[in-house]
């Protein structure tokens, strides 16, 4: 069974952390992953930096620009991750934009992910219909879970479609925003969380965007299975480097 599915069965609220590979320093990737696991994070999203990250706010944009300037690229990330499964057992997900994956070759990319022990992929700009028609069989062949996003504007009909195609979790974007744009949840966000919860989807939901501390984490996970923190962790890395990851994680729960 895929590590993501296994993790989702655990009787706890899951904390997932995103970071941009190659940031703050080119070769921090393995250290960050090891520390996140060591300090109790349940799942990690490894960001493959892109020059034009449309869905991201300034924090992740800047970390992506810096990572590329540091020299990060797809093949190098795979090299850095080559031996990661010798020491890390929590689910690892690669998150990025479609163009770098498309240039690498979707099949080659997925094959490489399987060899390394990557469990899932999140590509926000790979549309549902294109995935189904062209790439689903490739993802399945290499045992990869593709994670789709939903937002407060996503129609119920489309959420049902996404739920039907998904086989891990649904990435529930907390509000109409880019990453890191908002802090704290309004009442209407809670209403949205409750509405989705009441749909009884087959896939658990993990909330992302707008979670930055223990308060927002507990609010987000009141109904949902877990939450993802990205921008707040990147800010922590910018300020502290890779030495105090325990402080950040302990501050969340």
């Amino acid at each position: 069974m895929n590590r993501i599915n296994q993790k989702l069965k655990e009787d706890k609220k899951l904390l997932s952390i995103y970071f941009t590979a190659g940031y703050p320093n080119l070769n921090d990737t393995a250290k960050i992953i090891h520390d996140l696991e060591k300090y109790g994070v349940d799942m990690i999203e490894i960001g493959l930096p892109f020059s034009d990250p449309l869905a991201d706010g300034p924090t992740i944009q800047e970390s992506s620009t810096a990572a590329l300037r540091n020299g990060m690229h797809t093949e190098l990330l795979f090299e850095q991750l080559r031996d990661i499964r010798k020491t890390v057992s929590i689910p690892l997900i690669v998150m990025g934009y479609f163009n770098p994956v498309f240039q690498y070759g979707v099949e080659s990319f997925c094959k490489k992910c399987q060899e390394i022990g990557i469990d899932g992929i999140i590509l926000p700009d790979l549309p549902l219909d294109v995935y189904q028609e062209e790439y689903k069989t490739i993802f399945k062949k290499f045992g990869l879970i593709n994670v789709f996003l939903i937002t407060p504007q996503t129609s119920e009909e489309r959420i049902r479609q996404i739920d039907a195609v998904s086989d891990g979790f649904i990435y529930m974007v907390s509000s109409a925003s880019t990453t890191g744009a908002k802090t704290g949840f309004e009442n209407k966000t809670q209403t949205y969380f409750e509405r989705i919860n009441a749909m009884n989807l087959k896939n658990p939901q993990i909330v992302g965007f707008g979670i930055s501390n223990s308060d927002t984490f507990s609010q987000a996970t009141r109904k949902a299975k877990g939450a993802i923190i990205g921008s707040a962790f990147i800010k922590h890395l910018t300020k502290n480097g890779v030495e105090k990851i325990d402080e950040f994680v302990n501050g969340i729960r």
Binding site: L54, T65, P100, V101, F102, T178, A181
Partner: protein, 393 residues
């Protein structure tokens, strides 16, 4: 075979809507409504009325006698430079502001490079009394001060794009991010035939008035609707899309697309996407774009800010790949020389973008009986400083 978009927004293998889910409701609302709205009699009437009374259409189709004599062929100029605001861009912004009103939108956002589309958008927002925010790269703001001032005078807020290379592609990213953050009340007026479906098709339809008029005007002047060649410059490709539109599926009309070679295709400072680009995804569309082998989008270069885009609309990618269009790239020097030649032969100062289209007359030999229509997409007022610096005037 048709060279128009299919119902999913594909031109052959190019196009589609490669957008994050956050944008899906926005583009879906447009996709479901744009053709229906454009075909409503009340919409058509208002659009055509504004094109006539406000933009100044139809623009003339002018027989360029001295230019024709020099190159020993029959050259007509489609005078989009005579449109209100100085270029074809306003055809699209008029259409989209009416579309936004029909969709009940209260706020407009746009991206701009040199500022031409920004000015055209600010203009129609003033006309409609709708709030307008234009994203413009920080570097472009510094080098296009007159257009920044125009937008401000017209009541628009100009917001600097501070990310990435701080030019057009980043301004586009910022506009898209704004749309993600304001999905309900805001309409995004894209300035070219780029972006996710339905934008390339919608913008091409609004610009198609150019070739619609050419057909009628050529029939009056030459007794035939079809020229032998239609020539236009291509950055994103909106003036070209409009000039080609009603000829796309008429194979006897040769389509010539002129791209900016910058300092030369092999110099690393170029914007000739058909020569240097590979298939990929930019701004929500699958098309040809300039990128590294790792799929990072690179920064193009051209002396002409309007051609300085790392991608090309999916229609044009398909015209290139299928061989339907002939793609020629023109260097900065060739374009500047051709621009000055047009000034002195015909008394018309062209935009540097349009000058690229004229430069092909030095490259390609036409028959004396050929009718060649060149789309003169914009006037050169905005480029005066560039011309002054280049020719040391």
């Amino acid at each position: 075979m048709s060279y128009h978009a299919n119902e999913k927004g594909y031109y052959g293998e190019f196009g589609g809507a490669f957008i994050p889910e956050m944008l899906y409701p926005n583009t879906e609302e447009l996709r479901q409504n744009y053709i229906r709205i454009m075909e409503e009699p009340s919409f058509k009437e208002e659009f055509n009325q504004l094109l006539k009374d406000y933009v100044g259409r139809p623009t003339p189709l002018y027989f360029a006698e001295r230019l024709s004599k020099k190159y020993n062929t029959k050259i007509y100029l489609k005078r989009e430079d005579l449109c209100h605001t100085g270029a074809h861009k306003v055809n699209n912004t008029i259409g989209q502001i009416l579309m936004a009103k029909k969709l009940g939108k209260k706020r407009i956002i746009a991206e701009t490079g040199a500022g031409q589309h920004g000015v055209a958008t600010a203009t129609v927002c003033a006309l409609a009394g709708i709030e307008c925010v234009v994203y413009m790269g920080e570097i472009d703001i510094a080098r296009q001060a007159p257009n920044v001032a125009r937008m401000k005078m017209l009541g628009a807020e100009v917001r600097p794009a501070l990310s990435g290379s701080r030019t057009l592609k980043d301004a586009t990213n910022e506009a898209i991010r704004d749309w993600i953050n304001n999905p309900v009340d805001t309409h995004y007026i894209i300035g070219s035939v780029v972006g996710p479906h339905p934008y390339p098709d919608m913008v091409a339809r609004f610009q198609s008035v150019i070739s619609k008029e050419i057909k009628k005007q050529l029939l009056e002047k030459e007794g035939r609707e079809n020229p032998d060649y239609i020539v236009a410059c291509v950055g994103g490709g909106s003036n070209a899309a409009g000039a080609y539109y009603h000829y796309l599926d008429t194979p006897e009309v040769g389509i010539i697309a002129v791209e900016a070679a910058g300092k030369g295709i092999d110099t690393g400072e170029s914007a000739a996407t058909s020569a240097l680009g590979k298939v990929g995804i930019i701004h929500g569309s699958k098309t040809l774009l300039m990128q590294t082998k790792d799929g990072q989008i690179t920064e193009p270069y051209s002396i002409s800010a309007g051609l300085d885009y790392p991608g090309v609309g999916p229609m044009h990618a398909h015209l290139f790949k299928s061989g339907r269009g002939e793609f020629i790239s023109i260097t900065d020097d060739e374009a500047m020389t051709a621009g000055l030649a047009l000034c002195q032969l015909e008394g018309i100062i062209p935009a540097i973008e349009s000058s690229h289209a004229f430069a092909i007359l030095e490259h390609k030999k036409f028959n004396p009986s050929d009718i060649v229509v060149i789309n003169l997409s914009g006037r050169g007022d905005k480029d005066l400083q560039n011309y002054i610096d280049y020719f040391k005037l």
